[in-house]
Symmetry: C2
Amino acid sequence: MDKQSLIDCHNRIKPFIHNTPVLTSRLIDEVVGAQLYFKCENFQRMGAFKMRGAANAIMQLTDEQKQNGVVTHSSGNFAQALSLSAKSLSVKAYIVMPSTAPEVKKDAVKGYGGILVECEPNLAARESASQEIVEKYSATFIHPSNDDHVILGQGTACKELLEEQPNLEYVFTPVGGGGLIAGTALSTHYFGSNCRTIGGEPFEVDDAYRSLKSGKLETNTTTNTIADGLKTQLGDRNFPIIQKHVEEIVRVTEADIVAAMRLIWERLKIVCEPSSAVALAAVFKKKNDLNEKKIGVIVSGGNVDFGNLPFK
Amino acid sequence: MDKQSLIDCHNRIKPFIHNTPVLTSRLIDEVVGAQLYFKCENFQRMGAFKMRGAANAIMQLTDEQKQNGVVTHSSGNFAQALSLSAKSLSVKAYIVMPSTAPEVKKDAVKGYGGILVECEPNLAARESASQEIVEKYSATFIHPSNDDHVILGQGTACKELLEEQPNLEYVFTPVGGGGLIAGTALSTHYFGSNCRTIGGEPFEVDDAYRSLKSGKLETNTTTNTIADGLKTQLGDRNFPIIQKHVEEIVRVTEADIVAAMRLIWERLKIVCEPSSAVALAAVFKKKNDLNEKKIGVIVSGGNVDFGNLPFK
């Protein structure tokens, strides 16, 4: 994945995405002792950066593949992103979701035009349901994070950020399935001026941290985190990019995440997901090394369960 | 207060305020059946439109008056707005606040450089404490809403909105002390093209609704509303403007307010105060008359008590 492939990807998806705003907060800058630039993907279409990768992946298909539709299994933002991108491109999207998923998530997928396929709530059932659809309709399976086109698409958020703030010295992102941080690391590498990518990851799902230490893909045994978008694991497509281009993964506690989330809501006056706050929580952890630096923070999304907020 | 006075006011305060963004939501438009343009004063400095009027009022003072400082009594956004405006203009601001006010509000005033003066928690004590400061320091009292310079300042939010969207047919604002709606009504009158101002007001504090009906200033006996910024009452400076230029005041229930607030948070991905949501709640009440119209909504502020959110 070279520089040109990122440029081409960005040009390709531009009609289908927003160039989201970059916000700043004098108070947060004072507290951190650095200049922070928040790239607000919570304002992205369907409320998260996932729209970028989904759109790019579908646009890469042949006409015949588009005719047959796409399929993924996700109960999170990628399900909505694939549904909406597919609809924008007049392609069918089959979304495999556990029958136990919240009705609000099922409704969101249907609202964006996705075809909901329910299955038993376990990974084997999700995979076999997806496989069935691939076989039955000749649909193309698109992975939410471990796919080159998805990775490139997610990297365009950081590309836009660097177009607006070319002198950033660091960009922080949350780490879940690895698509966003891998794409971001490619963008800082190709478009930054000595700009480094750092990931934030909850202690509860620290597969990326451990994978970087051990040099091989590690798995999570617990997923007890408020950052529900980060419960997924790295894959063989994004891990080598992360190994090569990511400076460090910083782990944060659940309390760190809630405190950072509250600061974003209170000071930037925006709604972000707990997963997004993990990036700012990591900035706080690294505070002593960041004095006076110019730092980008990817606010990954804003789809929140308002019936279950963590503030007291 | 003529057209030129609004233009002069806007030019005067521009260096001290943000021209806040205007956001839209496809889903909210679909639900209302109209095109809504949200003027996001929650992104204003100190988090609310009050910054505009406070800055204008201070800038109108003579050098000698500036030397002696300003005073107001408020435990809400105007306290912070006057503190921050005064600080930006190197003027002392004395803020009279009941001793029972939440520590977070006292801290906010002190954080913005205001001089906190605590008093007993009743109106008489607030007024006499303010009067004492006026006498002792020759400070100038500035009312949070019933002051011509404050009214003009608040009107600049709508002026900016109309510069961006000149063809609005209605602008909705919340109604509390009356400064925002009076200023807005002046702006729609002078800068709109047959654009009308409508106010939203909680049933619980419907003095403006009743005042317009009776033709004289009415008072509130209950103030049991979540919209804590709207508990204040109209005054003799803004009421005549409201009588002349406001089309209608629409009353909304507490449940209407919470539903509108949630919609703004969920769909626009921004944090707004309950008071702000009153304007959107009023739009919903008038839905049947607004088919296909272009409507401005002033999102008045974003200072929220996160420990006490109304979502379930």
